[in-house]
Amino acid sequence: MTESQRILILFAHPSQHRSEVNLPLFEASKEVSGVTVVDLYQEYPTFNIDIDREQQRLREHDVIIFMFPLYWYSTPSVLKEWQDLVLEYGFAYGVEGTALHGKTFLCALTAGGAEKAYHCDGYNHFTIRELLQPLEQMANFTGMQFLPPFTLFAARTAAEQGRVSGHVDKWLRLLAVLAADAVDTSALRDKKTINSYIDGLAEEQS
């Protein structure tokens, strides 16, 4: 085991006063030591992203996490803007662009549809991991290890059904595993989400 991994969470939620799941996840993450949380819509309400500051943040962390609600099968727009501006040629890619090599990349997202909808037979036709392929390739292209997304399905009814606190607990367990650099990446290669992997870890322990 190496020394504890530094985790950067880039949180993108454009209507936080309505958030039921993402905000609790974000708030819980703040309390974890060794985790840096950035509320992108708070820092860049006019999308005036400070490229130098964001690149410096990336350099200072080992695990990069996008945390967001799924908007039209992708990230909210500030994360796309962040990618467009921060992942510059010569920084993230290109001959000298090796700043992200060896880091780990992960999405933590909430989706409105049920899990069975995100399936070739479901009405969304693709799995979440398939839909996130642009991000997976972004990770590959910049030399980062891509992990399957941490996902909460049917998120609109999660609060009513009392599923939020369990989800937050699971998230905190994942952060602990990430910080300890104890993720078995080979076991995750073809997984649609990372959720069942964390459940498995919990069972092993008990």
Binding site: N48, I51, E88, Y89, Y93
Partner: protein
């Protein structure tokens, strides 16, 4: 004349020494005044019988206090709370009167004396309770609000009680009195209604109250406008005093409680734009008079009567307070006052009040009570008032901590009241800020020292108040203690700077956002400690500059980028220029050094904006820059 000065000096001296001491010991100012009174009265004998006269004068402090309380209460708010006012207040007076009267009957008093005692003791001390609430910030709590409703009802109830008292007169006392009356030419109080039949009295009273409300509503504004336009601070103070004293006089003439009249006028003026200025002007008078009143209560304690009947007085006082407290506690349960608030409500109102003194002397003169009994009862009133601050300390130190740990855990502590925003200066700039906040349901208090401006805004339904925002006491009455943000948008440059400096000095945690007129003003405001400063023309000029670029054919999004870069370059240089300006110390004009620096900054800015080296990303091109044309070759090689 000299004798008066000596007297006044003794009173002031006692207050000046004792009150800060009591406050420092955590006893509260009321107890400090009371102790000061005891020291100069019964203990050292520095002051004597004139205390009763002074007390009548000092009771005017209570009138002023109720005027101020009225100013804080919108009529609609009062209407909303009518069930509490009548239910809680009415039951408190009725049940307490009945219970205390019953005890007096058992102790062998006749029914009329028992009823009189019950009525006198059922009332609590508005002066002590409200003063302590304000001092300890308890008035907004549930317990404080309920206690206030009861006090208000009691103040109203005094009027029928005064009317009832003569009917309880004891025949044997009356006959002695009538003999005396023949010998002594009867001294009539000044009154408008003394010789009128009952129906005419009622008519006069009704007409006076309606007249008072109408006058306060319609006449006060032109009057205050007229005074305010003169710009003389003391003229406004005089007008405020004139108002309160006038009401007290009118109420006295028609035989009503001056306190009630003042309260009524306060409520009518609660929506007035002059409200905060009135509060700030009356406040010091109220404070001094109330202090004086408490001193006279302390000084009026007659040690010889007290020591002769010590055990009786102490027992009666304790018995009274326990009885009143248990009734209050029961009412608090019935009216669902919870947790620590229930205890606050119970303990705060358990004493007899200053109206007790008034009613005692009144009942004495109307032959309801024999003199010996009345004197003993007034000792009970004084002692119970003396014990009240101690009960407050008990509440604060023993009861509250017990509940606080409980309450923080429950969900009650979510933000139920957003911090207020005070906007000083409501010209074109302040108006936009205010509209944005109001549109989002954020309570604001708007102040402007131009009565005309306030008037115009009121005419288009923007709630604003006349007052000089650079006066700290005015800001206090406007609620700066509860506010979270102060916006400084007054036109006078140097006053804006002074205001920021004073406020940041007294309230370092309050966020102060200031509007600057120009660059120099911007620096001065920053230097004064403002948390955020904006130059009033900067953003609109930048916007206009952008429009010029668009007219010249620049793409809209490119214009946005150029504007952003310009702003960030400005921001980078700001600190350097600010430091240079600051370095100049006292003679802060834009000297040569500053001018040179400014010019070199401008040049750098120009260089930065124009640098457009296609190979390396220029600052303005940063972001959305395509990679070099042949960049994929390298990637394919490594693949």
């Amino acid at each position: 004349m000299t004798a008066y000065f000596v007297q006044a000096f003794i009173y002031l001296c006692a207050a000046v020494v004792m009150v800060p001491l009591a406050k420092r010991l955590g006893l509260g100012s009321v107890l400090g005044y009371l102790i000061a009174g005891v020291i100069i009265g019964p203990i050292t004998g520095l002051v004597g019988r004139e205390t009763t006269t002074i007390q009548h004068f000092a009771e005017f402090g209570v009138v002023m206090m109720l005027f101020l309380v009225g100013l804080e209460l919108q009529p609609s708010m009062l209407w909303e709370k009518r069930t509490r006012l009548l239910g809680l207040g009415g039951l408190q007076v009725l049940v307490s009167t009945a219970a205390i009267g019953a005890v007096a009957l058992i102790l062998g008093q006749s029914w009329s004396v028992a009823l009189a005692i019950g009525l006198i003791f059922s009332l609590s001390s508005t002066a002590i309770v409200l003063q302590t609430f304000n001092e300890k910030g308890l008035i907004k709590t549930e317990g404080g609000q309920n206690a206030f409703m009861v006090l208000l009802f009691q103040d109203i109830a005094v009027i029928p009680i005064l009317a009832l008292m003569p009917l309880l007169a004891l025949p044997e006392l009356q006959s002695i009195a009538s003999e005396l009356a023949h010998a002594d030419a009867h001294h009539e109080e000044l009154s408008l209604v003394a010789h009128l039949p009952a129906w005419a009295t009622a008519l006069v009273v009704l007409a006076s109250i309606v007249g008072l409300v109408l006058a306060a509503h319609f006449l006060s504004r032109p009057l205050f406008r007229y005074v305010a336009d003169s710009g003389l601070q003391e003229a406004f103070t005089a007008a405020a005093l004139m108002l309160v004293i006038g009401i007290a006089a009118l109420m006295g003439l028609i035989g009503l409680s001056p306190a009630l009249g003042a309260f009524l006028a306060g409520v009518v003026l609660a929506n007035s734009e002059f409200r905060h200025e009135l509060e700030a002007d009356i406040e010091p008078f109220k404070g001094l008079l109330l202090g004086l009143f408490f001193i006279t209560v302390g000084a009026g304690i007659n040690f010889s009567i007290l020591s002769e009947n010590l055990s009786t007085v102490v027992l009666l006082t304790l018995g009274l307070m326990v009885l009143k407290a248990s009734i209050l506690f029961g009412l608090a349960v019935v009216f669902r006052v919870h947790a620590s608030d229930r205890w606050l409500f119970t303990l705060s109102l358990a004493q007899a009040g200053e109206f007790g003194f008034v009613l005692l002397s009144y009942s004495l003169s109307h032959h309801v009570l024999p003199e010996g009994l009345a004197q003993m009862l007034s000792m009970v009133v004084a002692l119970s008032m003396f014990l009240t601050p101690i009960l407050f300390i008990l509440f604060e130190k023993v009861i509250l901590p017990r509940y606080q740990t409980q309450e923080t855990k429950s969900e009650f502590d979510t933000i139920d009241e957003k911090g207020k925003v005070i906007i000083a200066g409501i010209g074109r700039f302040g108006q936009i800020i205010n509209r944005l906040l109001i549109a989002n349901n954020i309570p604001t208090v708007v102040l402007d020292y131009q009565a005309g401006q306030v008037d115009r805004l009121r005419s288009i339904n923007i709630k604003s108040f006349y007052g000089d925002a650079s006066r700290t006491d005015l800001l206090v009455t406007a609620g700066i203690n509860e506010a979270s943000v102060l916006v400084v948008a007054i036109d006078d440059k140097s006053r804006a700077v002074d205001l920021v400096k004073n406020i940041k000095h007294s309230y370092p945690n309050l966020k102060v956002l200031a509007r600057a007129y120009d660059r120099g003003h911007h620096y001065e405001l920053r230097d004064a400690g403002a948390d955020y400063v904006i130059s009033e023309t900067y953003n609109s000029a930048l916007q206009m500059g952008g429009e010029v670029l668009r007219c010249l054919g620049f793409h809209a999004f490119r214009v946005e980028q150029l504007k952003r870069n310009f702003t960030s370059a400005e921001r980078e240089h700001f600190d350097e220029l600010f430091a240079s300006w600051r370095h100049e110390g006292e003679n802060r004009s834009f000297n040569d050094h500053y001018r040179q620096l400014f010019m070199s900054m401008e040049k750098k800015l120009l260089d930065m904006m124009q640098l457009d080296d296609s190979d390396r990303h220029s600052k303005t091109e940063r972001g959305w820059t395509p990679p070099p044309k042949q960049y994929t070759d390298d990637i394919e090689k490594t693949d």
